[in-house]
Symmetry: none
Subunit: 338 residues, 3 copies
């Protein structure tokens, strides 16, 4: 098969239809969707090329992407075609050049939407710290090889420069002390897409709860540094609807720890972005209780929460009251059953 | 077929195999995955029931979930069975009770993992502000109806209480002024799951870039309140690998605005959670340039950035230099082509 | 609960709401989404049944899907109900019959959209090369058993006969003329991730079928420039397993057009990337039949295929023979029912 002969390990084509979840609310495909496809093509061709010789098996790891322009918007229903080829190899790196074309399969119109250059380094599957030697490609002319070498030297220089610059970043913000509320608190933002919504165009309650659970799990894992599972969720009221196209911020912070459980309060704030006059509003709040498990799925002791200030003290007391109430209810239920 | 007779509108069963993406790194299925399935079952049965009469068509919207316990962990490869039935109806709400069983289809073991109670309100598809009247269900005994009524009254009271409490929350934090850097800055956290990773267990560069683009888009949309598309991405270097199970924080803040473009700096910080001794580290940084489009996909003027303090002033100047440099290069490229 | 008594291991129901990402741009749910749900139901019931005895634990691997018709389009917001039961067992294989109903939970309308028959082979979890013995099911009558045996013998014969077809898709650089085979042919590439796979680490048959349907839809849309839905899939044999980490190339090309239908041949080639010495292999081939719909979901005339060369002429004749055979069978079935 022609695409599989020796030479053809040097090129690949990926395509797929752009779906509603790939795009924003007015139908423009996110640049990130395209970047992800570009990198998938690069990873496949790079990995394939570096495994065409004997020795250690490897996977191509992305080291650098050159500056990329998005020349035309892509829309839902169009097919994005990503074609990648290997254009230069050094001893330890592979240059992949990628073109993206969007095709409107209904009108037949095609547009060049991106050109990108990616650099990969092959890491051994046996030992991730080891970089494999790259099989060299052949060039159609000495000029082509020379141009590749120049690109290689230029990016190498830039990589060294930014490495030095980044090395200086020692997390500028002073990190809060471990085991405090501030240390583990976390938040995520999520743009409500079409597949998150009902026929009305409002988010499914289940989608919101899944994100809330995700944040609660991360907060607890930051505190405990162990395997975390959700043990219970207190009653949740959904007072206000959240519309397609909103950005939601889901934030969690610890309120209480018992010996073997952690209570986390989770807030969901909705921001209608485009209808700015409506303003941000709090859509949902809830308390999640998590436990920390060892390798046999047995509960572990939880490091106690270090409280800072009156507000945290007050919330801890309230959390304790909820904890004792639930415990009492559990005991009462057990007695009923006997 | 039995599931479609009149009575059977009152029960439904959903099941599916738990996949690696539904679970954390040691194979425990996320509580959020289960909560999402529970709510899907509730939404189907509630919507179906409220449309069994003439008049406006509607969709059941989740109003409340009662306290829920996770009795046993669920694992990858098990089948989660969610069965839901309608257990009470008031004039404007539907109570759905849900059981979740996990089945290990290889050993045959089955466990009850959750019991949940959800309250739905049917909203008209023609007019979302309108709540439809709920067709009443029949009860097997007056005691059963009485018990349902008690649950209904209890939750109604609690919903009113939390509504009052939440009404008082007028976004306690004083919001930053519009068009400042602080106003639009955003960050998200993401737990690196199996599908984000290569065979090595390190995150695909494309996954990181997609999240970076998502944050850049949200920052720009918060500033402009319009339709945003990515115009270009500066060179990105991937100095440090990010492992499966890490939590990454992707943060974006505006650095520069020209007449028709916005520059956003995006940072990716990785936190290995469980291997805490390694500490958080900055894995990637990049500059994204976005533009704001009108309904005909033409670029709009961008509201100028309000700078606060010397640091922001300095970053703006640097952004301006990058902008002018790119502009000069574009012009030079054009001349070359002529 | 009834689903867990002894007998009930022989039936299962899966359902979920169809989301925007399950459908094309005009809201028709992709045939591939339905095929994937069908296969998930079959895999659950098959795996569960083959583990009801002592001995090696196993997972049911899809070996063959009989010809499947899509009787009615399914739309976003509808609930797809997939019910599967085991209808025949031989020493080493399990026959699962599946019905798919679509339910519009807003209007209450229900339609039978698919009937499918799948054959599974149980592979040991300890040693994937080993096929487990299947526990035999009981039949309600000797006639029922006899009919099952006939189906078993018939498919066995066909599986032996169907050698993996070979063909290659050469992406031409110069733009081909509209309505030729070369004009519409397409291929996509997918890297097999963990959530695509069974506990063995082999790809679910349903994942493969979904991608095949996606390619068939793109090929047909390129030819017709209209809204395309899948009308039927000919029997598919799964000759070779595909492992996690493989890259699969799914390619489609038109073979035949009647007045109102298009036949597309789809190939799946697997490339183990890191185990390059194993080489690429053809894993699956199948014929999909698509139709083109207008805005009222009525079938449109299909532009005839322009044939180039003897090979295409020969394939067209073979496609025509399949088409006429199916048509004759449909007529015969109708007469039987009268």
């Amino acid at each position: 098969m022609s695409i599989f002969n020796a030479q053809a390990t040097a090129s690949i084509q990926i395509c797929r239809i752009m779906r509603p979840d790939d795009a924003n609310i007015v139908g423009n495909v996110h640049g990130g969707t395209i970047l992800k496809m570009i990198e998938e093509a690069g990873c496949i061709i790079g990995t394939r090329h570096c495994n065409t010789q004997n020795g250690d098996r490897c996977v191509a790891a992305l080291a650098r992407v050159e500056r990329t322009d998005f020349l035309h918007p892509v829309f839902i229903g169009e097919v994005a075609h990503v074609s990648a080829e290997i254009t230069y190899t050094s001893k330890h790196s592979v240059e992949v050049q990628v073109n993206v074309l969007s095709e409107n399969i209904v009108t037949g119109a095609k547009k060049l939407t991106n050109k990108a250059t990616l650099w990969y380094v092959p890491l051994s599957l046996q030992n991730v710290a080891k970089i494999i030697e790259v099989p060299l490609i052949e060039y159609s002319s000495p000029e082509q090889e020379e141009a590749g070498k120049k690109r290689y030297e230029a990016q190498k220089l830039e990589r060294i420069e930014t490495k030095v610059r980044n090395g200086e970043i020692i997390m500028s913000v002073s990190l809060p002390e471990p085991y405090t509320v501030a240390f583990s608190q976390s938040s995520l933002i999520h743009l409500i897409g079409p597949s998150d919504c009902t026929l009305h165009g409002f988010v499914h309650g289940g989608v919101t709860m899944k994100l809330m659970d995700e944040v609660a799990g991360i907060v607890a894992a930051r505190h405990c540094k162990t395997n975390i599972v959700t043990a219970s969720v207190d009653a949740i009221n959904f007072h206000r609807k959240i519309k397609k196209g909103c950005v939601i911020t889901v934030s969690g912070r610890m309120t209480f720890t018992s010996n073997k459980s952690i209570e986390i309060e989770v807030f969901v704030d909705a921001d209608p972005l485009v209808e700015a006059e409506k303003g941000k509003y709090r859509a949902v709040t809830a308390f999640f209780t998590c436990i920390s498990l060892d390798k046999e799925n047995k509960p572990l002791l939880v490091p106690p929460l270090k409280l800072e200030g009156e507000e945290e003290q007050k919330q801890f007391e309230e959390g304790k009251a909820r904890y004792l109430q639930k415990k009492a209810k559990r005991l009462a239920d057990k007695e009923c059953q006997q």
